[in-house]
Symmetry: D2
Subunit: 397 residues, 4 copies
């Protein structure tokens, strides 16, 4: 009878929260399209896995993207991929609204919404967990359960784990609940993608990974002789091998974009293997000084991804530059995966800047050791001046 | 009968090369003081281990010093420590010369000599492996052996390993010989400080490391209840535990300061444990933005150390800044060491910036989720402008 | 009769806006303390000029603080100085509220409020220009004028300039109104601190500025022999000389923290002279590599100041590091001020790292030119390798 | 009769030094090709001006290339241009050697030779001022004069200026001699490209400069209506106007790559105008965060150019990235040139990111001021936490 307030595209996970949000949005008078990334049951069922690997994970591999020295950005990278599709649907369906179930204290709200604003500046965003009418009505899981039951939404029967979890093709993250105390150990039954290294096989698997332009193009299991060479299969296979050997578990405290510290536990099996392999082939084929500049661009890139700026002029610029740096990052890395670790065993490349003869201790190569004397002495000019002027020799000694 | 050409302080390792150099310097007419860091038999026998840990390793720990994302700088850090002492002896003994056995293609010659010039600008350096008379006379190990035998220098009876090795308290490095081919795997009998993870214990050891001002002040074995709290003992204990579990092995290609790529294999058991633990307690206690600035100073510091500039105005400046950043890096990290890996289990600190109530998903804390909307929208101003001007929405989608 | 809503400390400029805000706050039921930085007539009359020079301008001089390569940050630096005092008064008077007249699109609101939150986390901020009840009631200058007249607030009789202006000891900024069109020239009668260079004296003034630890400690007019040596007098004198010669005018478009570009016209006479002089004495006395690191810290510092983070952990850290870098920045710079320009004429310092003998083309000094060959050849190792592997020589040529 | 030692391509300036070197090389038994950039009289007469402007000056303009905050790199940029041509001739003439007259203490030797090695790795370089036989034979100008006279080389009849000078299309540098004392003022008759501002016109010239992709494509004299639009003419015209008004004079102490400080006086009239104009149009059209990243790349680029690494993998990479950043740097800047200064008057661009409505103080535009409250509060989260944990409020106040 009453007019619709408008059409909302909701990023729907199929879980309790977004199920209630879906209903609540309808209650508020909106028409809702549920956009489901992980398939279950409603309107837009999407498999974004291939584009996620190629357009999001691969650039992160090229960048050696790691936030605050440890976090491989599995959640952060997934958000713009999902939100981009959500916005495409919104445009296509002429929806003025998008909505999501991210909380008001987290990073994901920022990542979703910056992507939406960047790609669809006119869009309006409904974030129920930041709307007082919503969050004061649903003060905890119990309220949501009751609401769901009352409206015939299927509710989870298994008791909820005392933490929250977010899974995608690249990783699973665990946080909040009992993990909020940063001193508490993660329970051993928490991990779902990786085996406990204590229970993992007592023999390594040895893999060869071939790279071209800084991305993996083939993975071969040396012993078994099997190989994968499409992006999605390749990445899934690395997840499988990494998971089998318990690779890629971390327990960290990190700094959220909104200014608070949070504790997160992550498992990123395939991504961790690729980080090791890419670092190796990159250093093998990239000039030292290019590497330094690219390293700082990679740090910047990681921070941008974490903060939700995948779709921003600066991130596009940095991605372009990093991509350019990868032109010669080509070759094969051999590595062993075992008990939570990745061990580089050797590497080869047609584009290597490694010159065995030049570096050899047994052969002189095209190198005159006398040059090193001049090199050192000129590098010492500044240091000797500094010493002279400090009159510091005696003091220092 | 003939006049001495002058007095040389030689950094003497006790091995074949520096034994021959010692003799050769005498042949050339110099008086020689052999300065032996690892004690064997001659004039200046030095134990620099305590000062090495406190004055060199600790600043590296504070900095999370890692060269090119992987190398923990075990050799690089040791050089200025040794050269500083060598120069002190030279000054004290009024020697005009110092000498060393480093090759003409490596980094160590630079590290030794820059330290010498920085602390003793008038010194003259004799680097036999860069002197044609020397290196064309001794073209290989065989020449050195013959020379040694002829002059009654005790020569090693065991066959030389087909690689070269450099050991100190922090790590052992292996390079050259059969390792020069970057595709060759490291032989399994190469490592001397760490057990092969395949043979390491099938039970983890759990440690607690207490930090103050960014350096470890106590290590406790949780189960055994034992603890170490002097720098040297503490570091040796971490080496022992790390070594027992095969922690800290890497096989990398790196970029030398003199412009060539080289392949090195390193094992740094205690240093690796400390890197993990320090990263954790630092992020827990340090403001996000301070951390970012400090991270880039740490990368600079690592590069300076690698290149031999420990004693330089810029390195002193950076060390000072990093030290300042560590004022509140205090607290306890619990971790498990197992099969080549270090797993952080939890952390606590009286100076943590982690606010459990603020971050909690269950409690609101002193935080209004509505603020996040404004935060996101203002962050999107630029992005929306960019989109508007690119007219790019359609194209991007 | 009715209860007060609480006590507000208002940063009061004496102008129309804050006069109306004062009244409006009272209307809303607050008690108000007007905190007047530039003295006119009410409760807290403050002269913060000395502390502004020493605690705010001097660190900016040490840093060569310039935002986006051009803006000397005159407004940005003043905000934390004012807000700090405002917060002190609020604490002292047990006021729960502070208020200001900054607009909702500008940087100043951020600078004021971040300072307040940093120093008085429990404070509540009333920003009328962001409160719909206020800004929809006062839609323009006319509404404010009527309100003022109605309530007997003295209103300006002179017609308002068609731009807005903000003045402090360091500079005057002009923006908005007719300046909002970035193509429009600034009217010639806009500037108040500096003479038009076309009308300025046709003879330069030559000054000597003495620095210690990177800050000016004395300015001497060479011809007149007069000198100033307290911070406030010294800085005012430089403003006078700079103003007389039309120094320090810029017309720029800059990027605000809130994400939009704005056009601003600034005049910073004394600050511009100091920037030139400090750059000169700094390069003269500071090691090259320290300078590089310090330069990037200075850029970071400038950005932090601009964005309002003077009181933040990272800004305190950076200030500390920059201050450390200035230990030896000492000496005398001679310069000429003429027709809008500052010309460095010469410099001297007891702590200079300049070595006239070493650099001389007529004397060899303690320098062997042969060393340069080795230096160059080693620096070329990478370049030759790159060429070899690109097979690029022919192509490049 | 006797065999030639080989063929040398000498970078020949036509001056006393390289004339003597030419002769001396012949004496030593080499065949010599003199490669003269500024035309006078011998074999290869080259006009590289057009390619110098387009391939070297333009990228520097895009980068806002300035070394150590002040030096516009006029000499540094010219060296790779000259050496590249020299190497082309050497290859073409099958010469194994190149030679130059740069001194052993300067930067130019490095810039020449790194370019040669990068583009012609097999080349051998003869640098007489680093060869003891040469420099101990010619200990000063007098020795060179005698040698020249004896061999019938025309020698300069005018007394040499008591400083040395290097001129090219972009700038003239002056150094050494009486300028080596950093306290000495530059004589007023030193400058050759720019008028003394005291004697320059008392009326400004107003120019419009149009940019596309970050390089100037047209200059128009507003009053006279004349314009230039080929790179060479345009740049020469800016030199003319800048020179007429005394623009671009600096007196600095700088840090040479070989580790010593030197004093240099430079005049760069056209380059200085372009630096101001490009900075303006760039900020007008480039996103804030892209600008930040690009600024640091520009600093890196400047350092690489200064140190002689124009032809290096890292410089090529950085040039590529900077070029990419310039895609939208397009528009028109109006500026006035007067008495040594460049004043920006206004700017316009079809690609501007400046949004007059958004920034206006009179119009709300697509902006809700309430959002700023949330933005500020979230930015304050960290600061309030820091305060809380420092318990520092009281102390700070």
């Amino acid at each position: 009878m009453c007019m619709s307030k408008g059409l909302v595209v909701l990023a729907y996970s199929g879980g309790l929260d977004t199920s209630c949000i879906l209903l609540w949005l309808k209650e508020q008078g909106y028409d809702v399209i549920a956009f489901l990334v992980t398939p279950r049951f409603t309107v837009f069922i999407e498999d974004l896995r291939s584009e996620f690997v190629q357009e999001f994970i691969w650039p992160a591999v090229q960048a050696n993207a790691v936030y605050e020295d440890r976090y491989l950005l599995g959640t952060s990278i997934a958000r713009p991929c999902i939100a981009r599709r959500q916005v495409q649907i919104a445009r296509q369906e002429r929806a003025q609204y998008v909505s999501h179930g991210a909380t008001g204290k987290g990073n994901d709200q920022v990542r979703f919404e910056l992507t939406c604003y960047a790609l669809y500046p006119q869009v309006q965003i409904i974030a129920p967990w930041r709307i007082p009418e919503f969050y004061s009505r649903f003060r905890g899981r119990k309220d949501l359960m009751e609401y769901a039951e009352k409206h015939g939404i299927p509710v989870p029967v298994t008791p909820k784990a005392p933490w929250s979890m977010d899974a995608n093709l690249m990783h699973i993250s665990y946080e909040s609940g009992i993990l909020e105390n940063p001193k508490n150990h993660a329970p051993s039954d928490l991990y779902q993608m990786t085996k406990n290294p204590e229970d993992s096989p007592s023999e390594p698997d040895v893999l060869e990974i071939d790279f071209a332009k800084g991305v993996p193009v083939r993975v071969t299991h040396v012993k078994e002789g099997t190989s994968k060479d499409t992006p999605l299969e390749l990445f899934c296979y690395l997840n499988e091998i990494g998971g089998k050997h318990g690779v890629g578990r971390i327990d960290i405290v990190e700094n959220r974009f909104i200014g608070m510290k949070s504790r997160g536990i992550y498992e990123t099996p395939g991504g961790t293997i690729l980080l090791h392999a890419h670092l190796d082939i990159e250093t093998f084929t990239m000039d030292r000084e290019v590497r330094k500049i690219k390293q700082s661009l990679g740090i910047k890139f990681s921070e941008l991804i974490y903060n939700g700026f995948w779709y921003s002029p600066e991130c596009e610029f940095v991605r372009h530059c990093i991509d350019k740096s990868q032109e010669n990052v080509e070759g094969r890395v051999q590595l062993s995966v075992f008990k939570g670790q990745v061990y580089i065993l050797g590497r080869e490349s047609p584009k290597s800047l490694y010159n065995e003869e030049l570096v050899s201790m047994d052969v002189q190569g095209d190198y005159d050791p006398c040059d090193a004397s001049g090199f050192i002495k000129i590098n010492a000019v500044r240091l000797r001046e500094h010493n002279r002027l400090q009159g510091a020799a005696q003091k220092t000694l």
